[in-house]
Symmetry: C2
Subunit: 409 residues, 2 copies
């Protein structure tokens, strides 16, 4: 059961002028499953993306990087589930190229104008013939208002489709941002997650897009973790169709640039947090905030140590305020000169640890009360500087083990 | 159920001349539990230890470091279970000091000659009054042949006592090494584990002891992981009573030094591996070996990434050869310039991946056969150098979640 997350109301997902989506069943791994999605962009759109830093990155990730680096105007995005096309060597690259060529031929564009994405089991051969056979149906289904279907179409172990949409005013014009994401396990994105797409009709200098998507990923997908496993296929893509009629944004620090930036971060965070809320076996949504660090890097070390600790995560699952496990994680996070006698720990509003020891007023029943909630914030103050970092994660439950012991069967 | 591990035969645990052990029930956390152990050393013994690098190290760890640094001849070791005395601030230090003072008074030695150790729940107040009350019974029980009882006396979530013993010939004289260890969760030692003690009657220059214990820890306890959580209380202690009648060892590189070194590493590895075999919820014992690295550090990065991945560990639990998860872990291990097209992967004798892709002869049923075994070796060749590293770990099962969700209740 996802944590305080329900399927998005289709009416809340504003179409983005210049973007159409088509979803079909191609039988890639299982029958009766929408497993093939095509997103087609009007001429003039710009695309930027960030991709996994996993050195075993998938064939489609390598091709996305190539196509974006080549500078060809991206006109189509192709997503299959059921197979990650990772750990597949030269054969995997060839099959991903074939899928781009087939879609390009049908849309009368160049293969370099297609970005391919795959998600599913690693180290199995991509059934590219089934993908090619499914493409005409996906193209026939193209519609501007199919974001809800696309959110379904990219799911693997997700239990709930994930989408977010907002509208802002820029230069007196309504600008839309709508996005989808998927992912529930192998989630500890490093640059981006597996998979996220946000489109906007904002009119923005294409040269600004890469900085914008990088910043948004860092504030959202790069701050979530479920199991600490960085995927081979993480990808986060920002599409700008430029069709809104306001004056073109030439700087992210302009007033208009700031409005767009804030809206993008908001949508990206909602999509990223939705992944955690639907984390494999998740029963709690946990915000880990570290304050008082000397720099952001050490705050992230401490936040991830807590968020990755199986002992901390099982204690949350059990609603057991065994909070010494949090201190232990901070202690081994890798901050070499950390002074334990400075540490404070709050669980929501409950002051648990002061100066490295149990707070004299801390009562177990207060910790217990917070631990029973479905949304919990852990705040650690290192009291040695002014930097902060926040990470979102979930607990570790029996269902996590069940899901991952059974994933392929 | 521990993996291929049974309680040691008491007759196999050779007494070490100069060492006596006494165990009692002090009611520290639970009734009817042997939770207090005292080890008393004859005059003339030397002791060296390595301790957790966790910055939130426990009060007794801080005191052990102090006492060893002060250079006082250690005559007694005091171990309690049921309470870790970590995250307890200045009050925790005071209580640990009190326990040393009480034992010193009973043995007519100085408090600085006592090394205190605690293991159990973090961030709870040490019931030092119960420890002090239990000391006379522990002292009355002192015997040279109580290693099996001491192994029981230091257990927490362990299901099986852990001990190992060997004898070697040095200068025509029989020299004994006998040790005990405990630990089943919060196991990812960094310098040592929670807790290990090895004693020998070898006659060795005390100045060599620290180098010897550090080397042994690095070859044994520092190579195991269960859940990636480095404990606040990890300690590994080497005792030399010097009572064997051979000529004193003055160099670890001498023939006699090498015999002792090899025997110590063997005993330490058996004790360390016993901890993994009895890992919380463990059903498989897994050896992760990385070859072909440029240096040992990058081999360890890859080995620990595999050994800590919840996805890899749940696949082992399920006997599911979902081996792409191993590649993904190698890919995110942090080796920035890793070339995936060079990677080979073997599961025992089965060649799974060649040059970064699925080996053409690999058949799923071969992987399945190995995955069903209780002892599995994973060998990854990075093919970019001559360095290697080995780490021992276990799988992640439902019982791990159950044990850690229920630990305090």
């Amino acid at each position: 059961m996802p944590v305080n997350l329900s399927a998005p109301d289709p009416a809340s997902l504003h179409p983005v002028p210049g973007v159409r989506l088509g979803i079909t069943q191609a039988g890639i791994r299982k029958a009766d499953r929408r497993d093939l999605s095509v997103i087609v962009l009007d001429e003039g759109a710009s695309v930027a993306g960030v991709f996994t830093k996993n050195r075993f990155c998938a064939a489609p990730v390598q091709i996305c990087r190539e196509h974006l680096a080549a500078g060809a105007a991206v006109r189509a995005i192709l997503v299959n589930t059921g197979n990650a096309n990772a750990g597949t060597g030269a054969d995997g690259l060839a099959r991903a190229h074939q899928s781009c060529e087939a879609l390009a031929a049908l849309l009368n564009i160049q293969p370099q104008q297609v970005l391919p994405f795959s998600t599913g089991v690693i180290m199995e051969t991509l059934p590219v013939d089934r993908i090619i056979k499914g493409l005409p149906a996906a193209i026939a289904a193209l519609r501007p208002d199919a974001w809800d279907e696309a959110a379904l179409g990219i799911m693997t172990t997700d239990t709930i489709p994930k989408a977010a949409s907002t509208q802002v005013q820029i230069g007196g014009v309504t600008v839309t941002l709508t996005g989808i994401s998927k992912g529930a396990g192998m989630i500890r994105p490093n640059m981006a997650t597996m998979l996220g797409y946000v489109a906007t009709d904002a009119n923005i200098n294409p040269a600004l897009l890469q900085a914008l998507v990088t910043e948004a990923a860092d504030a959202s997908f790069n701050r979530i973790t479920i199991d600490g496993d960085t995927s081979t296929n993480d990808s986060f893509v920002l599409i700008a169709t430029h069709q809104a009629k306001h004056a073109r944004i030439e700087s992210l620090s302009s007033a208009e640039g700031q409005v767009l930036r804030a809206a993008l971060i908001e949508v990206s965070q909602r999509l990223a947090q939705a992944i955690v809320r639907d984390g494999e076996g998740a029963t709690k949504f946990i915000t880990v905030q570290i304050d008082g660090g000397r720099n952001e890097a050490e705050c992230k070390l401490a936040a991830y140590a807590i968020a990755h600790s199986p002992l901390v995560k099982t204690a949350f699952f059990a609603s057991d305020p065994n909070l010494g496990r949090i201190l232990a994680a901070v202690g081994y996070a890798g901050i070499d000169d950390l002074d334990q006698t400075l540490i404070d720990l709050h669980l929501d509003d409950v002051h648990v640890v002061r100066a490295g020891g149990r707070h004299p007023d801390y009562r177990e029943e207060d910790g217990q009360r917070v631990m029973k909630q479905s949304e919990i914030s852990v705040r650690v103050n290192l009291n040695r500087g002014a930097a902060s970092a926040t990470v979102w994660t979930c607990d570790l439950s029996h269902d996590y083990v069940t899901i991952n012991a059974d994933y392929r069967s």
